[in-house]
Subunit: 304 residues, 2 copies
């Protein structure tokens, strides 16, 4: 095994991922857990990080580069924001050092859009973009799905503007806490080619002003047509993705296609959605992108 040079950490609201890397940016080991910001704020960020570093037998003086919600005000150490328009490499200058942990740990800042009519923030996605778009040229529109999906306009290596869509969180709160919860009880996993998903997606994309009525048809479909729980979940998901994509694309002008940065199930779902809407896109793996972004950041900060 090559000698470990640094650890790269993507520390989100509800997830923690650590990669042990050598100096050629090869992955030597990986850790994943649910100890995101929300959990770590209670148990202690330093202890969570130390336990994962110990598990991969990291050397005591090995540096660590971190992105994501660990840098939020309610996180470990506040890493602030870089304002857009922002060149992605300039984000690295805003890295904040965590004191008193016995090794060099730095947290990358997020991006802020201080427009009075469209205030917005991201933390973690800027590092994914840094990894995904290092050789980016021209205007690009990037879709980064998640609890809070980001649609980002990039020009060369700069983020010019972006917008957050609460798709994942809306699915969660509506499915758990609204009258639709009765319709979804017992739902199983579904694929992106499921007709209930595709039809709801297309309906919401075509008529976004009907969103809060389309949501209610999940309930009335159960009452009147015996809509099954999995189709109910697919309809809710399709409706929320349809409205997100309609919104994200509404700022699309001379850009030929969308870059989709996603992994796993979410990637499958969005690829299915883009295909069902006849949209061309280029897919980039989000896990690879954030790791590459962290590696680029490590070489300019903790390894410099």
């Amino acid at each position: 095994m090559n000698r470990p040079a640094y650890a790269a950490v993507d520390w989100g609201t509800s997830s923690f991922r650590l990669w042990l890397m050598d100096d050629k940016d090869t992955v030597l080991a990986e850790r994943r857990s649910g100890e995101g910001m929300t959990s770590a704020a209670k148990t202690g960020f330093a202890d969570v990080l130390a336990s994962h570093l110990q598990a991969v037998e990291a050397p005591a003086d090995m540096p660590v580069i971190v992105c994501g919600m660990a840098g939020a005000r309610q996180g470990w150490v506040e890493a602030g924001y870089v304002d857009v328009p922002a060149s992605l490499p300039s984000v690295l200058k805003g890295a904040v050092r965590v004191e008193g942990v016995g090794r060099d740990v730095r947290i990358l800042p997020g991006l802020a859009q201080r427009d009075a009519n469209a205030p917005d923030v991201m933390r973690g996605e800027e590092t994914q973009l840094l990894g995904a778009l290092r050789s980016g040229t021209g205007q690009q529109l990037v879709c980064m799905p998640g609890t809070h999906s980001k649609w980002v306009h990039v020009s060369g290596e700069s983020v010019t503007s972006f917008a957050t869509y609460m798709t994942g969180e809306l699915f969660d709160v509506i499915s758990k806490h609204s009258v639709l919860s009765h319709s979804l009880a017992g739902a199983e996993a579904f694929d992106a080619d499921r007709p209930a998903f595709v039809e709801a997606l297309q309906a919401a994309f075509r008529a976004p002003q009907q969103i809060s009525n389309l949501l209610f048809t999940v309930r009335s479909g159960t009452l009147l047509h015996g809509l099954n729980p999995t189709d109910a979940a697919a309809r809710l998901s399709g409706t929320l993705l349809g409205i997100e994509i309609a919104g994200g694309l509404s700022s699309l002008q001379d850009i030929p296609s969308v870059i989709l940065v996603a992994s796993g199930k979410l990637r499958n779902l969005y690829e299915g959605a883009f295909s069902a809407l006849s949209l061309t896109y280029e897919g980039i793996d989000a896990d690879d992108a954030v790791r590459q972004g962290l590696s680029a950041a490590a070489h300019k900060t903790v390894l410099a």
Copy 2:
């Protein structure tokens, strides 16, 4: 005091209202409580009704006419649905008698729209419409705000189609269970002319496809611009009303104005919203409407 002839009951999901009426449809007494369907399903519908009848000293053999969620499957006695297109007077024929309560108690049915692409249901609003539109002529578009707002197309005395918008419930679940809850903590009551409400209303009405981004700006407005909790609540409310009104009006064709059936704070909010969007409307008091509808129903059923 005139002799009581019947009781009229509007029994919703979360509220119970009873009016003691004479045979000229004059109100002799009124009761309001939070013992809606959800609560009464646990404590017993018969007991709740009996306690309120006793409180107004109703004669033992006096009949009762009921509309609303008491007639739902999970309510007292299921009163089914009349399918649209439906003449409003035909609803009366579907009234279901409650057995074993020692007096004549009947529950009015709801309306169902069994369209596969736009399934929808209402319970209680059909009785409001019966009261509001007894002399209605021509095509009308009726807006009935609430937890589940209804937008109803009426032709003469018939309901031709309708759509439910989950506005009130979305406000509730998003304000309580999403990341926006931090922004709204400590919010106070606001008026419909508050700039944060009006601006959000107009933004959502103009660009409904941005709904899930506009919702997130409540959070980012707090983070970046110190948006205060009451303005955050006003912005959330305005966004959800804007999207509802955009949806409700999208089916408007040759109809000159909207009829707004609402009471109290909700009426003020929707009147303010309609004015801010330069929409002409005619306001009808929802409490008066449902009582008049119940009276019309009583004369054709329990008093016939």
